[in-house]
Amino acid sequence: MSAVSIRDVSVAFEAVRVFDGLSLDIEEGEFVVLLGPSGCGKSTLLNAVAGLIDVADGQIFIGGRNVTWEEPKDRGIAMVFQSYALYPRMSVRENMSFGLRMAKTPKAEIGRRVAQAAELLQIGHLLDRRPDQLSGGQRQRVAIGRALVRDAAVFLFDEPLSNLDAMLRNELRVEIKRLHARLGKATMIYVTHDQIEAMTLADRIVVMRDQKVQQIGSPAEIYGRPANLFVAGFIGAPQMNFLNGRLEAEGGGLSFVAGTLRLPLAGYAFNGAPPVGEEVVLGVRPEHLALAEAGLWQGFGVDIVEPMGADTVLWCSDGTHTLQVRTTGTSRITRGERVGLGLDPEQVSLFAADTGERL
C-alpha cells in the first residue's frame, strides 16, 4: 500500500484544465521531488494533495484512505511554504502549536511536542520571539518545526529553500535530508525548480513540464538515462551537449554521424528498434568527454576556459560544432590549444530528432 496515491487527477481553473488524468504512487518513507520549470504544474499538484485546491476529477489516497474531498487538516499532512507563512502576530511557540491548539490537544502534549521539534531543529532559544525578529533561515526552521509538531504521515514542501541565500540553502538542504532519515517512516513530497536540491534529496524525482510528467526515476536514472530531450537538457550543469546527426549502418553495427564527426554505437542500449537512417540527436554530458590526443574526434580548438574551482569547463569547437568538456580544476589548458576528444558510447544518450524521445 502506498503512502500517497494520486489517481487520474485532473485540476481545472475556471474552464482551463491544468492537469488531465495525472497518476503517481508514492511509497511510505519515500522522498519524492517534483522538479520542473516554473509554471509546470508541480505546485498545483502539491496543493491538490494538500487539499488546498479542488480536483476536478480523479482520486487522492493518503495512507490508504480516500481523502479527495477531505479538508486539509483531516488529511494527515503538514506543509512548508516558500514564503515561510509564519503567523506574524504570534510567537514562535504559538506558531508551532497553532495547529495543535486548533485540534484541542491537551496542553502537556502540546508542550512536549513543541519542545521535541524545537530540539530537533535547534530553535529552542527562539521560542518566545516573534517571526519578524528572526532571520530567513531561522524562519524556515520554525516553519519546518510547525510542520513537525503536527505528527503528520506526509510532509509537503513547496520550494522551501527558494527564498534563502546560497549558503543557508545548502545548510538547510542537508538538514531536511537528515530530518527525513531520522523520522524514518515519514513520506515527503518536495517541490522545487532547483535540480541540485532534487538530485541530492530525492529517492525518486518526478520531472514535469507543461503539466505533464516527463520522467519518473531515481536521480541516477534521471541523470544517466534521461527519457527525452527536455529532461536531458533540464538536468545537469553545465548542460548536456547536443549534436544533430543521423543514424547510419556501417560495417556490422550502427554509427552516429554528424558531418565529419562519427561515433560507432557498439555497447549503446537502444530502447527499441534503432531507426536506421533517421535524424537523431546525440546527447553527451560534459564530463563524459575526455581530452585525449588520440581521441575519436579530432580538430577541436579551445574557445573559452571557465575555471570553476573543483573543475574547469572548456568550450571546444571545430568550426561547426561546439562542445562543453569538463576537466579537472588543475587543468593547465589555455585558450586556442588544439585538443582531441574521446567518448564512450555506453555513456551517451540518443534521442529521436522529431519527437525528442530517448532511443
Binding site: E71, Q82, A85, L86, P88, M102, R146
Partner: protein, 294 residues
C-alpha cells in the same frame, strides 16, 4: 588632484526655489488655519466685542460663556437645550455604525480575498459600483423601504443606512489590504485546521491593526460629519449634531449670536479634530502599510 574634487556633504544653500517653497507652504497654512483661528477667538468674545467688527482682534475679556450656552441652552427651533442633545445623538449613531460597518467590511474583504467565493469578482464589482452612485439617488427609495419595514425615523434606521453606505468602501479597503498578504499564510492556517472564523479572528484580524485604524478614522469622520442621512432617516428624536448645529445657526431671532454659533461649530468639529490629532500618525502608517508587505 583629489583635493579639488567634491567630498563630504553638499553645502546647504538657501536658493530662490527654497524660499518660494517655504512662502507657498506658509501661505497655504495661513489660508487653512485662519478660519479656525477666527472661529476660536470669536467664540471666546462677548457680543459687545464682536459688535466692534474687528474680527481679527484678540478677545479683550475672554469668556467661555458662549461655549456654555452653545452646549446647553442654545435654541434649536423650539427646544432650547443646546447642542449637547445632538452631541449625544451623534455618539449613539456613531458607535454602532462604526463598529458594524468596519466589522462587516473586514469580513467581506477577507472572504473576497481568501475564500474564492463563486462569483466573488462580480460581487465585488457590484459593491464598487455601489460606492460610486451618488447617495441622493437612494434617498427616496430607502425612505419608502424603511417606512414599509416600520423602522423609518429611528436609531436603527440611521445606523443601518450608515452601515450599508459604509460597506463598499470598507470592503474595498480590507480586500485590498488582504490581497497584499501572501496567500500561503492562509493556506498554512487551513492546514493547521483553522475554519472561516478562526482564521479571520486569530490570524487575519491581528494583522489588520493598521487597516482597522484607517477604517475607524474614515468612518468616524464620515459618519460624524454626515448631514443628509441624519436629516432624512434619524427622526426628530435622534437628529445628529450636524443637523442641530444647522438649526442653531439658522433659527436665531433678533441679534445673531456669532459667538454662540462659532462655539457650537467648534464643539461639533471637536470629535473629528481629536481623531486626527490622536491618530494622524497611525493614519499615514496605515496607508503606507498597504504598499509594503507586513
Amino acid at each position: 588632484m583629489s583635493a579639488s574634487l567634491p567630498s563630504g556633504p553638499r553645502p546647504r544653500r538657501l536658493t530662490p526655489g527654497r524660499i518660494g517653497l517655504y512662502a507657498f507652504l506658509l501661505t497655504a497654512a495661513v489660508f487653512f488655519l485662519l478660519p479656525l483661528w477666527i472661529m476660536l477667538i470669536t467664540s471666546l468674545k462677548p457680543m459687545e466685542e464682536i459688535r466692534l467688527g474687528n474680527i481679527l482682534a484678540l478677545p479683550m475679556a475672554p469668556t467661555l460663556e458662549a461655549w456654555g450656552k452653545a452646549w446647553s441652552s442654545a435654541c434649536t427651533g423650539l427646544d432650547c437645550n443646546g447642542i449637547s442633545v445632538g452631541f449625544w445623538n451623534s455618539v449613539r449613531i456613531l458607535v454602532p455604525s462604526v463598529i458594524l460597518s468596519i466589522a462587516l467590511g473586514a469580513v467581506n474583504g477577507y472572504a473576497l480575498s481568501f475564500w474564492r467565493v463563486k462569483g466573488a469578482n462580480v460581487l465585488f464589482g457590484v459593491l464598487l459600483v455601489g460606492a460610486f452612485i451618488p447617495y441622493q439617488v437612494f434617498l427616496y427609495p430607502l425612505v419608502r423601504i424603511f417606512s414599509q419595514m416600520g423602522i423609518y425615523n429611528s436609531l436603527t434606521c440611521i445606523v443601518l443606512v450608515h452601515v450599508i453606505f459604509g460597506l463598499p468602501t470598507m470592503t474595498l479597503l480590507f480586500r485590498n489590504y488582504y490581497a497584499g498578504i501572501p496567500i500561503e499564510l492562509f493556506k498554512a492556517a487551513r492546514i493547521d485546521g483553522g475554519g472561516f472564523w478562526t482564521i479571520f479572528l486569530r490570524v487575519m484580524l491581528p494583522m489588520s491593526v493598521p487597516m482597522l485604524v484607517v477604517a475607524t478614522i474614515l468612518q468616524v469622520t464620515g459618519i460624524w460629519n454626515d448631514f443628509i442621512f441624519g436629516l432624512t432617516f434619524a427622526g426628530r428624536e435622534n437628529l445628529p449634531m450636524t443637523v442641530q448645529l444647522n438649526n442653531i445657526v439658522h433659527s436665531t431671532q433678533g441679534e445673531r449670536a456669532y459667538n454662540v454659533d462659532m462655539a457650537a461649530t467648534m464643539l461639533a468639529a471637536l470629535v473629528p479634530l481629536a481623531v486626527y490629532f490622536v491618530s494622524g500618525r497611525w493614519f499615514v502608517r496605515g496607508i503606507a502599510a498597504g504598499a509594503v508587505k507586513g
